[in-house]
Amino acid sequence: MSETAEYYRDRVVTALVMFSIIWAVLGMLAGVYVAAELVWPQLDFGQPWLSYGRLRTLHTNGIVFGFGVSALMATAFYSVQRTSHVPLFAPRLAWVVCYAWQLVVLVGGISLLMGVNASKEYAELEWPFDIAITLAWVGFAVVFFGTIATRRIKPIYVSNWFYGGLIIVIAMLHIVNSLAIPVTLTKSYSLFPGAQDAIVQWWYGHNAVGFLLTGGFLGMMYYFLPKQAERPIWSYRLSIVAFWAFTYSYIWAGPHHLHYNAIPEWVQSLGMVMSLILLAPSWATMINGIMTVSTASEKLKTDPALKFIVLALAFYGLATFEGPMMAIRSVNVISHFTEWTIGHVHSGALGWNALITFGTFYFMVPRLAGRPLHSVKLANIHFWLALAGVMLYILAMWGAGVSQGLLWLSLDELGELRFSFTDIMASTAPYYLLRLVGGTIFLAGAVLMAFNLYMTMAGQATVRVSPPSVAAGEAAA
């Protein structure tokens, strides 16, 4: 049979996993450094490229686009082949996408250190990079949807719906939000004026969180959790309903970033209400994941990866509850512009995105290498470091955020603001130190993982796996 001569194109997956791990360590290191700068500002040594403003964007871009997107590309390529029973469509293009993406992140990161910045959060890279991102993304779409189009199984598994949603929506958001008039090679001005620019920016910004950091990683969960648990997803029907509810409601939620700003109040209210509705599909997915794993507890004896995914689901539950709550205007009036928001972002980024990716990598890399994980003990230590790190981080930011919110709005007997901005910032310093400790512990865990996975993969060629026969595929479907 012709299928037996075929094999899944997993070398590109291995490369993307390795790049993702490198960006994870570098991105988190930048995060720890900027956290230290908030405690000891002199750590910039008077160098503009070491300043908080530049390193912070390097941190966010390195994590979201370097670590996150590389992981999503790796897992999308890995899972779409196995759920379609065909090798990757246009495998050479997949390699081009892999290296083009790494080049964009690397050169883009250098441009951020040089001070080239489009002044839009999570879209800081200037217009030449925007064009390069678009081209690489189209390549990603061609490989992914090409594989789906040539599949040998009729149903399209739910993880592919989420990955597909990620690719389409991020393309739409990126292109619209990046529309700009270039002035020089390193400077452009947005096509949208004033408040409209803010609305477009947060339509992009929040849905980058939604479809990339949530939807994309849900795709990861829907494939790798059942694989690790060796159980089908608890309710496939619920997963599909949650996908469409998620897709419909997320796209409206962006204006909650602009409460009490110069945009129409009804737009703010719409953003708030849709954010609250979003809780339903988010928690439906969480329950689906938890119930899937609940019947596979014996796997925990041998599989360190599953723990990460279980804990990731708990933090997913927290972050998807906290987000809608903070979108309520009467909560937001105190929480906005405080460290609480930073804590919320990291309960999602560390607790959900990073933990589920770590769990997935601990599952994938031994299979790609064709041998067991180098050290299960190190992976277990990593688990506890990750939990301790994220908890310290979140608690520090909750304390800092609520204190800031109260101090900023606190009035004296005459109805005047009681505290000055500098007083309040000075009062936040101890929390920054606690956050630095939490972040460092989390980074230490990531370094352990990098070492563990490197030792697992070192000297090994990526295992060649052939797709099963069509008949077996139909049976599996």
Partner: protein, 221 residues
């Protein structure tokens, strides 16, 4: 009509409470002999009433009292130059709200834990879930002594290690007390952590909404 319920064996509620093996000394023993307490709980079948009235209620009242006394003496110290003092009436309202929230958190956690029990093959009686939540909450109640000096950062510094102790008790104790396998216990404990994190952040959300409504410190909204 009798004021207090009578159990199937004819005992009144308070008689049953006296016969229970759970006592306030449990909290002290938890600090030094947690495994012995887990083993003991695993073989007992405490009633929800006895755990609630003999232990949980009194443990729950401790943090608000410490908070009230601390805020009266020293004011809320959020790290800024001057502390924030409140009139006694406001402090009473805040402390009562704190107590009620803790009570709600306790009961809801036990009910959620009981709801999860069938999924993870754990014991189902509400009393044992009340006991488990009491065990997990006990270090936090002991740590709440730091509320006597309500400097927020110092409170966080003290409560973080007690929180870690609580989580240790949850992960270690749950499979023993609720008689399930360590693996299923780990999954159930992680699910409960998810619920408790949501409960904690809800506490923050409710607090700031109350501030916005004029209950608590005076804020310029």
């Amino acid at each position: 009509m009798e004021l207090w319920p009578r159990f199937a064996d004819g005992q009144h509620l308070f008689a049953r409470m006296k016969s229970t093996e759970l006592s306030p000394a449990l909290i002290i023993r938890l600090l030094f002999q947690p495994r012995a307490v887990f083993d003991e709980l695993s073989t007992t079948r405490p009633s929800a009433y006895s755990v609630f009235f003999r232990l949980a209620l009194w443990i729950g009242v401790v943090p608000p009292i410490f908070a009230f006394v601390g805020a009266s003496l020293f004011g809320w110290r959020l790290g800024a130059v001057e502390p924030i003092f409140f009139p006694t009436g406001v402090l009473v309202a805040i402390s009562v709200a704190y107590f009620l929230t803790l009570l709600f958190g306790f009961v809801s956690s036990a009910i959620v834990s009981q709801w999860m029990a069938s999924t993870y093959g754990a014991r189902h009686s509400l009393g044992i879930h009340f006991a488990m939540v009491t065990v997990v909450g006990a270090p936090l109640a002991v740590g709440s002594i730091i509320h006597l000096f309500p400097h927020v950062f110092i409170n966080i510094l003290v409560l973080v290690p007690t929180l870690i102790w609580s989580m240790y008790l949850l992960y270690r104790g749950l499979p023993v007390v609720l008689q399930t396998t360590p693996e299923r216990g780990m999954l159930m404990a992680s699910s409960l952590i998810g619920y408790l994190l949501v409960a904690a952040v809800s506490l923050l959300g409710i607090t700031v909404v109350l501030w916005g409504q004029g209950i608590g410190p005076r804020v310029g909204i």
